[in-house]
């Protein structure tokens, strides 16, 4: 077996080791490379900036713990921004396994900024139905969620005063790890109830949401950990996403080098085979 053939059949544990190193070393020794803010992330930031005090902001955390590293930093950054702008925050999830994570995130950020549950924000939790739930919220929010996650009647909550349905929500952002997520909120919500919609998502599904962005169906898009890092920079509060960008840079480059190497060896074996045959 020739050298290129041997290299093409390299033990995959070596690749795992390289990726492990590329993740670990930048986390231990950060380089802090400059991060450029993209227009699609800035659009979400600018829209929240433009909302007056007391406006209603709904954050739907449509993800489960598997997507926590990418979407939790987005949620934290958005909540910090919304609370610092004194918006009334409604938090919820369309993903049952994400309920606990969403609750922890909202309460942590709210406590950090001294916000009061029921007055400044509400966590509605999870309710089944997906599209039907969004339609229900669009028709009558108090009927779709008669009580919040802690059992308090939604009709009596100060934060939900004069918010009988989604038409009274100024901005909705869905942070999605898949379906249900941004597309679901557009299809069943924005299309009929005419609120402004923004999106956040994992890096894997971001390319699939660009058509919605280009057509104005969503007014901004925060894609993956990179998007979260950009948002952290915009609100001037670097967090876990900015910290993770060096590791992401290193692993992306490791994969690029691996792809170049594998193609080099592939063409070497092809040339050798052509000469031999």
């Amino acid at each position: 077996m020739s050298f290129p053939e041997k290299m093409l059949r390299i033990d995959r544990r070596i690749i795992f080791f390289v990726i492990g190193l590329c993740t670990l070393l930048p986390l231990l020794y950060p380089v802090d490379l400059p991060i450029i803010v993209t227009p699609e992330v800035r659009m979400v930031y600018d829209y929240i900036e433009s909302l007056p005090d007391g406006s209603v902001f709904l954050l739907s955390m449509d993800f489960d713990p598997a997507s926590k590293p990418e979407l939790e930093p987005q949620a934290i950054a958005l909540l910090r921004h919304a609370f610092s702008r004194n918006l009334r925050v409604i938090a919820m999830t369309l993903w049952l396994p994400g309920t606990g994570l969403a609750e922890q995130t909202v309460n942590r950020v709210a406590q950090e900024l001294g916000k009061v549950n029921g007055e400044d924000y509400v966590f509605l939790g999870y309710s089944p139905g997906v599209g039907a739930l969004i339609i229900g919220m669009g028709q009558d929010l108090y009927k779709a969620f008669p009580s919040d996650y802690y059992g308090n009647p939604t009709k009596t909550l100060a934060v939900l005063k004069d918010v009988p349905n989604l038409r009274h929500v100024d901005y909705v952002v869905s942070l999605a790890a898949g379906t249900p997520g941004v597309e679901t909120w557009y299809l069943f919500g924005k299309d009929k109830y005419q609120f402004e919609l923004g999106g956040g998502c994992t890096g894997v599904i971001a390319p699939g949401l660009y058509p919605l962005l280009r057509s104005g169906q969503i007014n901004g898009l925060i894609g993956g950990m990179r998007g979260a890092a950009e948002y952290e920079l915009l609100i001037d509060q670097s967090g876990s996403a900015v910290a993770g960008m060096d590791a992401q840079s290193a692993t992306h480059f490791a994969i690029i080098v691996l792809v170049i190497l594998c193609n080099t060896f592939y063409f070497m074996t092809r040339r050798a085979a052509a000469r031999g045959g």
């Binding site: 995959r12 309920t99 606990g100 971001a206 660009y210 058509p211």
Partner: protein, 224 residues
């Protein structure tokens, strides 16, 4: 029995399908009330689907364990996980004698159910997803080869996007950031849009077929 299994579901589907299709175009208050009530019904039915899903999961894995099929040990672990989580969520009282009621926290204090969620489910799911990075790198090395012109084009685009989406790529070759945005906003968006339009037209066609009883696969098989 044929009426209950075949005709009745077809009638319900036809009536509900036609009513809610027309409802979209009728802004009358009564039509809106119908939509509100209908969405509540669907939410309630969704809960039954949840119960059905869990029951089905129990049944499939019980059969696997009983027959000791390959991998039955994993089914046993799954069974153990479900039963323990359910029991803890429903019965264990940790916080001030309050019933947890399937909640992760009560008055800011973590319940036993919340402990299971935070310290087992969250790290386990996170680990499963993190492993993907290793397998993607390995798969890219083994299969991402320029075997044809099309594959070479895809490979070049992938390398540019991978560079343009990280600070190191933009730092070394600033133009990759702009090219990445162009690829995502123009090439990718137009192709995705075409796929979306195709899927949407297919969904509309399938819905019409289901409403008019031409597509009956959702009724399942079985004897008449």
């Amino acid at each position: 029995m044929t009426f209950l299994r075949r005709q009745l579901p077809l009638v319900i589907t036809f009536v509900a399908g036609v009513i809610f299709t027309l409802q979209y175009y009728v802004p009358h208050p009564k039509s809106e009330i119908l939509l509100t009530e209908g969405s509540l019904w669907i939410q309630i039915i969704g809960l039954f689907a949840l119960v059905l899903g869990v029951t089905s999961l129990f049944h499939i894995h019980a059969v696997k364990i009983k027959r000791q099929e390959p991998g039955w040990g994993y089914s046993l672990i799954l069974y153990f996980g479900i039963v323990v989580t359910l029991a803890v969520g429903l019965f264990v009282q940790w916080v001030g004698g309050q019933h947890p009621g399937g909640k992760e926290t009560i008055d800011g204090a973590m319940t036993a159910f919340g402990w299971i969620y935070t310290y087992t489910m969250v790290p386990l799911q996170g680990t499963m997803f993190a492993i993907l990075a290793f397998f993607i790198a390995s798969a890219a090395y083994r299969s991402f080869r320029a075997r044809s012109k099309e594959a070479a084009l895809l490979l070049t685009a992938a390398v540019i996007v991978m560079m343009g989406r990280v600070p190191l790529g933009e730092y070394l070759l600033p133009v990759t950031g702009d090219i990445t945005l162009w690829i995502l906003n123009v090439l990718n968006a137009s192709v995705r849009r075409a796929i979306l339009i195709g899927i949407s037209l297919g969904a509309v066609a399938l819905s019409i077929k289901i409403i008019f009883g031409l597509e009956r696969a959702y009724l399942g098989g079985g004897k008449e």
